[in-house]
């Protein structure tokens, strides 16, 4: 019967083979422009870490357990300036607050009807900007009960690949020619700028991009250390407010 086929896509517990197929579709999704740009960013990060006196094993370990590049850059900065463990942890925690709303947005998208909570906690470790943008762009084309497998494919492939990238480029990354190095560093912001615009599905998201991009650098010199936090909270609230005002006018 046609509806039995439909049910096996949306409601039933998928077979291991089907899960594996969607895991590999997620993994293959990372062989793309964003995956390439992230690897390039990790070459830059690798050079920074090498200059700061860390060993290659420590940096590969850090890539696996922390994952988000901004948090790792803050951790390295805190160690370089001789901070104590609590001070370093506080600085890293502040830089990671932004991951919370990103995970809040992702969870209802990847959660299937029978997904155990521990799976969601485990998958949340893979959340950083690239896997988040890639997932939000493509999840709507993935059957609901296979989205956790698909996201695991995207996230774990990105983490594993970039641990290898850090390992391989650690000794050469700090010796690149300046023009090449500057061009590589410019790839990440431009990629995020364009892909985030594509993946923001509503008016408030576009306002949020404009406000965040102005408020982040605006508060960088005024309140260093709190610039991302203010850019995110104030920018996000202002964007939501602007969206509400426009909606109220258009329905009035």
């Amino acid at each position: 019967m046609w509806y039995r086929g439909f049910m096996s896509i949306e409601g039933d517990i998928p077979t291991a083979a089907l899960r594996l197929r969607w895991f590999f579709r997620g993994a293959l999704k990372t062989i793309s422009l964003p995956g390439f740009l992230l690897a390039i960013s990790f070459v830059g990060f690798s050079g920074l870490a090498a200059e700061s006196g860390f060993t290659v094993t420590q940096v590969v370990f850090m890539t696996g357990v922390v994952w988000a590049i901004p948090a790792k850059v803050v951790l390295i900065g805190a160690v370089m300036s001789g901070n104590t463990l609590p001070a370093a942890a506080l600085a890293v925690a502040l830089s990671s607050v932004r991951l919370m709303p990103m995970v809040v947005v992702l969870i209802p998208e990847i959660r299937g009807p029978r997904t155990p909570r521990w799976v969601l906690y485990a998958l949340s470790h893979l959340v950083a900007v690239t896997s988040w943008v890639l997932a939000l762009e493509t999840l709507r084309n993935v059957p609901r009960n296979l989205r956790t497998s698909y996201y695991f494919g995207i996230g774990s492939t990105l983490v594993a690949t970039n641990m290898v990238v850090v390992f391989l480029t650690f000794s050469v990354a700090e010796h690149l020619p300046p023009l090449l190095s500057a061009s590589l560093l410019f790839l990440t912001p431009i990629y995020f700028l364009t892909s985030l615009w594509s993946s923001s599905r509503e008016r408030s998201g576009k306002f949020a991009m404009v406000f965040g991009m102005v408020l982040g650098p605006g508060f960088h010199t005024l309140l260093p250390g709190a610039d991302l936090f203010i850019g995110g909270i104030v920018g996000g609230l202002a964007a939501y407010g602007a969206h509400r005002i426009i909606r109220a006018r258009s329905t009035a």
Binding site: L85, V92, R98, S195, G235
Partner: protein, 116 residues
């Protein structure tokens, strides 16, 4: 207790675990806890999405205005101009991310070679 405080092989790894992993994953786990309570279509979610997007946008803005490494030596007007041209190209060429990135990089590289 600093990174160099103990002269043992395991202390740097414990430092990275507590100062890096715990500090970062706490917020990811808090997101799972809160996200499990909200539907993706709810009005609160529109607000949370706006805040998440603004956070990432603030990171983008800082990477362009206050970059690290070799990019710091380039003029700020060149970086903002290259980003703007890349974004307009992206909008004009069927929302192609690749077209936007290529246009921005060409402007940046040309600018570096002309000014430095």
């Amino acid at each position: 207790m600093t990174f160099d405080a103990l002269d043992t092989w395991w202390w740097p790894y414990l430092f990275i675990l507590l100062g890096g992993w715990l500090a970062t994953d706490s917020f990811r786990f808090l997101g799972v806890y809160l996200g499990g309570r909200l539907s993706e279509t709810s009005e609160v979610m529109v607000l949370v999405r706006a805040i998440a997007t603004a956070f990432v946008a603030a990171v983008i803005g800082n990477l362009i205005v206050f970059p690290g490494g070799e990019l710091r030596a380039t003029p700020i007007a060149l970086r903002i101009g290259a980003a703007a041209i890349g974004f307009v190209t992206f909008l004009l060429v069927r929302r192609s991310v690749l077209a936007g990135v290529v246009a921005a990089e060409i402007v940046l590289a040309a600018g570096i070679m002309l000014t430095m």
